[in-house]
Amino acid sequence: MTTEFTADEMMTVGAARSLRDGAACFVGIGLPSTAANLARRTHAPGLVLIYESGTLGAKPDRLPLSIGDGVLADTADSVISVPEIFNYWLQPGRIDIGFLGGAQVDRFGNINTTVIGGDYADPKVRLPGAGGAPEIAASCREVLIVMRMSPRSFVDRLDFVTSVGYGTGKGDREALGLRGRGPVKVITDLGVLEPDPDTCELTLTQLSPGATVEQARAAAGWPLKAVDAPTELAPPTETELAVLRELKATIE
């Protein structure tokens, strides 16, 4: 018997499973923070949570409501300044995994969180902007992107490149001097995309339970490539779901 679960729960569980025990993880608020805290309570008790507010090794007993929540400072191994978190910790590439989301992603994992439509000076939608994302994308050893798929968000061409994935393809990161590996997975509600080893183009490699390649293709704004036989993601376990829901309950 499996419990019912939502596509968002599957995404969160999928993200959590991508976090190795002992890894140092740069966490944003929302789904990444939920996933990281879920991982820490299940298979990765030694996961090191780092928030851009300057909390190294936070061990919150409830989900923080913001990246600067007091519970993060109270439970951290060390609280440092914001210049230090970016310069001494993120920039040198000592953080294993960074999470990113965005309003738009393209086939090379580049992300837009700045403006949509019109042009920069007179956009249709003004988004919050870069925040920590460009340097997380540049410097974390690996990046996980978590976004729901839709043709409006998985686009052929970004309206603005806020954070670089693989640029225009293989070799671009190296040419730009970006030292992290780039986005190794895009975790969506329909499945998981991974960069093709030869071209770095995002390719559907795994499907969420019940989702199909056709659904994923319909939800992408470019002709989405898929491996021959995408594997199916294991549904959330009873434990994963129970812990996840318990966590979410702490902020409701």
């Binding site: 409501l65 007091g70 400072a73 300044s81 970016f86 870069a130 671009d172 730009l176 001097g177």
Partner: protein, 272 residues
């Protein structure tokens, strides 16, 4: 050398029309009361600098205090957009708003350069993004030893740096703890500085993780209990998450915002 002033005296003395000012506080210890006092005193043509412009900057912008915003992430955290900010950019209401947009790493380094008396900072950042094409204050720089291409950003040296802290002593030495963001850099980079504090105490007790700013680098201290509300002050009060939610409909609507300006900001004054 820090002088202990009333908030209204301090703002009147330190913040002038046309100044570049930075109100910093990373989620924690945001100097909101100082921002409201600037609105009450009707300052104009300010350049507002802040990594994460949120509600208080939305309010300053909506009140027509600003002509320019220098920032790296503008939003109502966990809620959505800043509607006064958008209305100013997209419709020049109530006055046009110029923007200078960076990343967090860039802004943090700009403050650090300002605090260090350097004209610029070097970082690994922005390369491959569309930001440099929109922002004059991002330039390439080459390592003179390795030839590697990096990015330079100019120092931030605001006319006034304003932060909120938990405590000051009577000489004006300041202590803050918990998440302290870029607050030290903001004060050190600024030409003049104001620290609002939860309380003035006889003696500062050293605490783990505390950042201390000695009185001789602070221009003025004002005791403003609750001065970070709706953000929080660790050890004093929690974040008022409902306020952030409630801001959304107010910020969305020019009339509701005008009412808020008339009633809330004025009410606050009489409450002080």
């Amino acid at each position: 050398m820090a002088r202990i002033l009333q908030l209204d005296e301090a703002i009147a003395e330190l913040v002038h029309d046309g100044d570049a000012i930075a109100l910093e506080g990373f989620t924690h210890l945001i100097p909101v009361a100082a921002g409201h006092e600037i609105i009450r005193q009707g300052r104009k043509d300010l350049t507002l600098i802040r990594m994460t412009p949120d509600i208080v900057y939305d309010q300053l912008i909506g009140a027509g205090c600003a002509r320019k915003l220098v920032f790296s992430w503008g939003g109502n955290p966990g809620v959505g957009s800043l509607h006064r900010f958008r209305d100013a950019i997209q419709n020049s209401w109530p006055v046009p708003l110029e923007i200078e947009e960076h990343s967090h790493a860039g802004m943090a380094n700009r403050y650090a350069a300002g605090a260090s008396g350097l004209p610029f900072a070097v970082l690994r950042g922005y390369r491959g993004t569309d930001l440099p094409a929109q922002t004059d204050t991002i330039k390439p720089i080459e390592c003179p030893f390795t030839g590697e291409q990096l990015t330079a950003v100019p120092a931030l040296n605001p006319d006034v740096g304003i932060i909120h802290a938990q405590q000051a002593d009577r000489a004006g030495n300041v202590q803050m703890w918990g998440i302290t963001g870029v607050q030290k850099e903001t004060v050190l980079a600024a030409k003049r500085s104001l620290v609002t504090v939860e309380e003035i105490v006889d003696e500062l007790t050293p605490r783990p993780g505390a950042v201390v700013l000695p009185q001789w680098v602070v221009t003025a201290v004002a005791e403003v209990p609750g001065g970070a509300h709706p953000s929080y002050a660790q050890g004093y009060y929690e974040r008022d998450n409902a306020y952030y939610q409630q801001w959304d409909p107010i910020g969305r609507d020019r009339e509701k915002f005008a009412d808020w300006l008339e009633t809330e900001v004025k009410r606050e004054r009489s409450a002080r």
